[in-house]
Symmetry: C2
Subunit: 566 residues, 2 copies
């Protein structure tokens, strides 16, 4: 579940080592530790994500207003680096707009290894020939700019003939560029936002762009499209043993395609995924990120089905972007902004606002939403390079625990070992047919605030609704009690991870709590829900307790709760 992708240390000249245990005190209290945050000021979309193979270092840029804790112009690209995708170290401003009434809006970065752009000379290592493609926003228009770096991504030089792409629109932004090996071209997806079009351009050199196609009017439209992105994602078999030979996908053209003929060595193939964010107007309220699985031939993206899907069902997951390259070939690493434009500028943090999500590795897996169908589904696996704290009371691990109304699991954490980061994994089994649906049949995990006994997160599963829920509303924090868009209760429908012949269903949830954010990964990441939460003071966790209202109906096949440390 938890990948330790990177354990290497930084060695680059001029780059100080990533955050370790001793410099955590430099951060404001209450700040997430394993999630990227700005040192101060306002942050939104992740930008320009890339991996430096020379330095073995990940770079993340972000929409940044260092002059205040709400979005405002001028808007910059802030910059942080990480060697392990868990600890992030701020590096300063990387790109700034030309004028104070304008912004260096969202965009991406590529590594121009072969110097197709002609912007580099031999003094720059091919692995560090980073070019940023971003939207310059002025009161008159949005157009696409290039900037390049000759110092490994710490500073950028504007290309002299900017813009490289201009269609005289005020709503034309968020270019994401990838390299398409088959056609040997750069491919840009960019949002013609209020036309609900993702425009697809190609270029041999990052400077000259040709419109190839557009993809639009698909999915949930909301007010506008933002932050598109194409990624080639590997297909892997899911854990519950579905095989295509047993099940027929409705779109047979899709399943007859070559994507699903595994190679002789059993290695799975791949498909293309197009990401589109919408804001405002998501059905859950405000901002959300959707995706489409399909084929891309170098000019056109064709989805396998016309269904609408959100990569994360929570309220706080927007503007997803994938990294250009990664340490491990085939990894599709991604980061999203862990907030929502409905209330992002009002969340009760001091001096800084917003964090990113954990980095997630994306794969495609088969998944059975019901007994008669199988779907390809985008699967999210968090990367969190931490280990359980080696201290008394810092870990609870139990197997085969039969829940009853008198028998619960609980733990109290000593404040001194409270790092603020926790994870838990619960595998539960239940025969849902045994219950009368005229009442709730549920188990609940209460995660308690250090501050007040009546402040807690409640997470649970109920057989009557067949859904898992999160209630983040039990708090005295004024923002929580007063902001009408910070909805308390959310739920996700879950298909069983596995079903036994006697009708017992098994489900699985992995959760990460980091100060004021909780990320929930169900059934190995087929369903994800990311949500902020706020207690009265600093979000310190006192402990947890489980509860059920049905005797012996639920079994925790496995229950683990850890206090984590770096």
């Amino acid at each position: 579940m938890i990948s330790s992708v990177l354990l290497g240390l930084l060695g680059a000249a001029g780059v100080v080592s990533a955050r370790n245990g001793t410099n955590r005190t430099n951060l404001y209290e209450g700040r997430p530790l394993a999630h990227l945050t700005p040192p101060e000021g306002w942050m939104n979309d992740p930008n320009g994500l890339w991996y430096d193979a020379k330095e073995d270092l990940y770079h993340a840029y972000f929409q940044y207003n260092p002059n205040g804790t709400v979005w405002d112009l001028p808007l910059y690209w802030g910059h942080s680096v990480s060697s392990d995708l868990t600890n992030w170290l701020y590096q300063g401003i990387a790109i700034e707009p030309e004028r104070d009434d304008s912004g260096a809006y969202s965009g991406s970065a590529v590594i121009d290894t072969n110097n197709t752009s002609g912007l580099f000379n031999d003094s720059v290592d091919p692995r560090q020939r980073v070019v940023a493609i971003w939207t310059y926003n002025t009161p008159d228009k949005e157009s696409q700019y290039l900037s390049y770096s000759v110092d490994g991504g710490y500073s950028f030089i504007p290309y002299e003939n900017n813009p490289v792409l201009d269609i005289n629109s005020t709503q034309f932004r968020d270019p994401k560029v990838i390299w398409h090996e088959e056609s040997k071209k750069w491919i840009m997806t960019v949002a013609h936002s209020q036309k609900y079009e993702i425009l697809i351009y190609s270029s041999p050199n990052l400077k000259d762009w040709k419109l190839e196609s557009s993809f639009g009017d698909q999915g949930y439209l909301g007010y506008q499209y933002e932050c598109p992105g194409l990624a080639r994602v590997p297909l892997v078999q899911s854990g519950n043993g579905l095989t295509l030979s047993n099940l027929t996908y409705p779109n047979t053209t899709f399943y007859n395609s070559s994507y699903f003929n595994s190679t002789s060595n059993g290695k799975a193939k791949e498909a293309w995924v197009l990401f589109i964010s919408i804001n405002p107007g998501a059905p859950q309220g405000g901002s959300a990120t959707q995706y489409f699985i399909g084929d891309f031939n170098g000019t056109h993206f064709v989805p396998f089905t016309h269904q609408t899907r959100f990569i994360d069902m929570g309220k706080d997951y927007y503007a997803l972007q994938t990294f250009f390259n990664s340490k491990h070939e085939g990894d599709v690493l991604s980061i999203a902004w862990a907030s929502n434009w409905q209330y992002g500028s009002l969340v009760p943090t001091e001096k800084w606002r917003s964090s990113m999500s954990l980095v997630r590795n994306l794969t495609l897996k088969e998944w059975a939403p019901n007994p008669e169908s199988v779907q390809l589904n985008l699967n999210s696996e968090p990367i969190l390079d931490m280990k359980p704290l080696n201290a008394k009371n810092a870990s609870t691990e139990v197997t085969d625990f039969l829940l009853t109304t008198n028998n619960s699991l609980s733990a109290n954490f000593a404040p001194r070992i409270n790092t603020g980061i926790y994870d838990f994994e619960i595998v539960w089994s239940v025969n849902e047919n045994a219950f009368n649906n005229s009442r709730l049949n549920e188990w609940i995990l209460y995660i308690d605030s250090q501050d007040y006994y009546s402040e807690y997160l409640a997470l649970g599963y109920d057989t009557t609704a067949g859904a898992f829920y999160l209630d983040r509303g039990n708090s005295y924090n004024d923002f929580v009690t007063l902001n009408p868009f910070f909805n308390n209760r959310q739920s996700v429908f879950l298909e069983p991870y596995s079903t036994s012949s006697n009708g017992t269903n098994t489900y699985k949830v992995y959760g990460v709590i980091d100060q004021n954010i909780i990320e929930l990964y169900f059934n190995d990441g087929s369903v994800v829900s990311t949500n902020l939460f706020f207690f009265s003071d600093q979000n310190q966790i006192r402990g947890f307790e489980t509860w059920t209202n049905v005797n012996g109906g639920f079994k925790f096949d496995s229950f683990k709760f850890h206090v984590l440390d770096f």
Copy 2:
């Protein structure tokens, strides 16, 4: 906004007159009055909706378990009638299953005027030749049955050669049949639920069905498809004066089609709408009804776009069905179940459970979701044949009211005039650019419970989120405080109803409150949100009060709040 479609009285022999003021006391306290409810027991999907032109009477059937207040087998078709689509009178059980371990599941009704089925003789008025097409559910399979009535829809006779359609599936249900005039055939849409397919069949006689096509993998899939339906819906011009010549729809094929060439007399044409309900697994949690606008040629439905849309953004609107025929040609009348399978069997009513939505007339209107696009949108207009109560304090009507922190509107209703039904219409104007988005800038309408001062509904608009919200969580009712799926806060994104040259936006909401249900219609019904709510005791309303936190930023161009009476 409120149509008085029918004011006629009933004249049919054997049919008592619809409910009037004096028989309201027969109903349990707390029961909605203008919404169809069962006399006792459990109700879910609306079924077999049809209009009797001979008796000038509307018939509604519904999934019904009279033996308990939760869903259970055997399941019947209950039956109610209405002359005004507001007052409904229960008529007993219309269709029952053959066995106690089975159900007369959802279906529809048609009027076989020309006796294509051969089931009628001349003794039955052509306007009353009603045939029900429904799903017979047994433990082994779901197949489609016919039943016909020779007494105007009060009792049904099973067709002797049932089933008329059987594909040996346990997940094949909810047939909705219409007459397709161009091909002179009956058309059935029926859900192959867990394959995410809507199968389209044709028949000359309602008995012999030929599979013509399937429509699937579109929209939001959830766990399964249910309750499909095709309807021919008129296109009317919207109130905000958009014209197609000014705006380009992304799918130009669509807008170049003959549908959008108005006829010479200016009368709008029409398009087809396909409804599909999904449950569980809607993004809002649980149950939801989506729709697709497109063309139907007698065999195939082709959507104009592949976008996903929900006809109602609230939590309680499922299994929509349209009426076969209506009094006024061109009206597309519809009813949905006003609940959610996540908690429908747990709502705190006594002896009966669930109400239907108000009847809504559907039209297609152009609508601008943002400044650069125009869409065709399904528009919902409630039918509520009631008038403001003629009593002191029963009406508040104000125009051009500038909201300030010291100046609010309020009313207290005397308990003796409290009928339990209210409506309100608010037209508000705001220059959203005048505000600082680092705070909430909102107006709120509090609708107060008779029981406790801290029980209320809160509805409001905030410029920071650009959204309207409803908070139904301020209640001491145990169901509200404890059910984790009865989410408190919901919001809808609103496009301005109109925008002036100085940047002032105008919005509009019409609301109906009937005991424990609130229906909100925004901008003349382009966006709708239907939600149940529960106070501690009987949901009596004490009065209302408005509030704002910005001085002079909001103006109520018009504010009306009425206590309603029959």
